[in-house]
């Protein structure tokens, strides 16, 4: 039985996430300054925030396979799969038309290791970081606690990566699940779409889904299938 058959047979695929990124050099000193943020005011991404909430997208209506991902989210993807590859925290799903969905989980363990041993007395959760990225700018008041300040500025800095191309960031909310999503067209309406999802019922991680070589309409249909996986 192939891996894909296993996937369909069991209906739900649980991806075990273990993010291990050791911080290079244990002799780092705490540096909350960021040269990019200091001079970002003229950059588009620096002041970009998501649009007010719009209705949750209509779900894909064809035959689907279910994927369960942290933070406790159930996603249904079309069954016309060509290949699935996964590592510890990423799942690549390639479809027969060569479009691709990439699921990447960011857990609080990841940030503990990105910033360790500086992460003491942190109050911000992964949910907070995702929300800061799309609702706050460098002009907003920053937290006073140093560790929280570090993560706040990290979140603002991440705008420069996520929003390197001018794009309208949409927001939709369904129950405890909030989705920030946008599309960067490459050819006609085909391009790369990205969604960041958080779940109020599990603030310790957020999920990034990237749709490559896919229309925004198709991507939104997949987003439309996502719901809180309340076992």
């Amino acid at each position: 039985m192939t891996f894909l058959n296993n996937l369909v047979y069991f209906g739900t695929f649980m991806l075990v996430i273990t993010c291990i990124i050791p911080t290079p050099g244990q002799s780092q000193t705490l540096q909350t300054d960021d040269p990019m943020l200091r001079k970002c005011e003229k950059d588009w991404w620096c002041n970009a925030v998501a649009q007010p909430p719009s209705p949750w997208p209509q779900p894909y209506s064809g035959k689907t396979v279910q994927i369960v991902e942290s933070p406790r989210l159930l996603v249904e993807i079309p069954t016309d799969l060509k290949r699935i590859v996964h590592s510890d925290y990423i799942l690549f799903a390639t479809f027969k038309d060569n479009s691709q969905l990439i699921f990447e989980v960011s857990s609080d363990g990841l940030f503990q290791q990105l910033f360790a041993p500086l992460m003491k007395d942190v109050h911000l959760t992964m949910l907070d970081i995702a929300v800061i990225m799309f609702t706050k700018t460098a002009k907003d008041n920053e937290p006073e606690i140093t560790s929280d300040l570090l993560l706040w500025r990290f979140a603002i800095n991440m705008k420069s990566h996520f929003l390197s191309e001018k794009a309208v960031v949409f927001t939709s909310k369904k129950g405890p699940v909030t989705c920030f999503y946008w599309h960067v067209p490459e050819k006609e309406n085909i391009g790369d779409s990205t969604a960041i999802l958080v779940n109020d019922n599990n603030p310790y991680s957020f999920l990034k889904i990237v749709g490559q070589s896919m229309s925004f309409d198709q991507f939104k249909k997949i987003i439309g299938t996502i719901r809180d996986h309340n076992k």
Binding site: I21, G25, T32, P35
Partner: protein
Amino acid sequence: MLNNDEAEDLREILEDLYGKNIVANWKMNEKILEVFNDMVERNKSCSVAMDYVPRPITGGRPDLAHIRSQLRGMAARVAKRNAGISGIYLICSASTRYTFRFKFEEAGQGVSEPF
């Protein structure tokens, strides 16, 4: 195709960024080098990344041939820096490492290659 020395140097640099356990699963290939080249370009403003920037930079984006020729020197600078440096732009380097990790995963596992 990277030769053995180039692959070893590139692995050493990436292990410095992500740790040996993560990089152990990545195949050192030209796709990885391309991602690394993009990361170098993206990360020029982070002081820690300056260790990886091919020298001299005369402006514009370094091409792959150039960055290949610089791998040895970059790996040497990584080793030297790890001997004891402090005061890096942590936020800047962390966000770049975070963002590029999945691109390295994709390139290093051959996910984007035709099959």
